[in-house]
Symmetry: C2
Subunit: 128 residues, 2 copies
DNA sequence: AAAACATTTTGATATTTATCGAAATGTTTT
DNA sequence: AAAACATTTCGATAAATATCAAAATGTTTT
């Protein structure tokens, strides 16, 4: 769009950062990734939404710069991108560990992902 | 249940904070309010969108806790709510002055609102 | 009291977003 | 090479969002 071009990249990048963390499921993903890198099916099993939706959320977070992905066999590991060159993103990500730690769902999520291992979790998805 | 509502509210409040600042026009409003409190028509004249839309944006920012309103004659003055009891909001608002200061539009906006006075600006809206 | 003014609310619309299931892609295991 | 598996892409849909013009509300000026 013409308007977007006039406003420049900065504003768009800025709002994209916050749009990425304005969805509860994406926030839960970031909080889970604070514990350790996770594959798509591990996240899917916790969030209780479809795999394709999780994949989409991960793409949005990645596009905003919050996370990175790394191919690992048949899995794709997602992890927090703690070394972003985007200062706003870096600041926000640095504050995240202090946020939502008293939230029951966030804590429950972290408990779930630490309990079982990847193969068990992903295999159990089929039976749901 | 009450407990369920409480844990739901935290996440909701959290995402509402960031949803509020994931729109370019709302970000521009916050950056303008860094300079001084403003009425609706002053903001409208800068953003070049309809008054009702500005009013709606202001309501979203207010609902999220970023700004406050104060009746002032026939005007309503909006100002930044720097003393929020919401820690996340307080942190974000504290970082805002360091953000987007190299953005052309943000700087242009600030220039525009410092130039003319309220009565002139609001009166000129009719001719647009 | 009427007119002018600033703002909010309402109703409508176009766009974006979150979501799903199914199909496609690419890897590993058999 | 075929089957199994993890993930992504695609097509569809319902809900949310940004926006406007017009009507409603409340204040000030005349």
């Amino acid at each position: 769009m013409i308007i977007e071009m006039r406003k420049g990249k900065t504003m768009n990048e800025f709002t994209k950062t916050f749009k990425a963390i304005s969805d509860p499921n994406r926030v839960r993903i970031i909080k889970m990734l604070e514990a350790k890198p996770l594959c798509v099916c591990e996240i899917t099993s916790v969030l209780n939404i479809s795999t394709s939706t999780v994949s989409n959320h991960l793409n949005i977070l990645k596009d905003a710069g919050f996370i990175r992905d790394k191919k690992n066999g048949k899995w794709v590991d997602y992890s927090l991108n703690r070394s972003s060159d985007n200062p706003v993103l870096h600041q926000v990500l640095a504050m995240f560990p202090g946020w939502l730690n008293d939230n029951d769902i966030v804590n429950s999520d972290k408990g779930l992902i630490s309990e079982a291992d990847r193969i068990q979790i992903c295999a159990s998805l089929k039976s749901v």
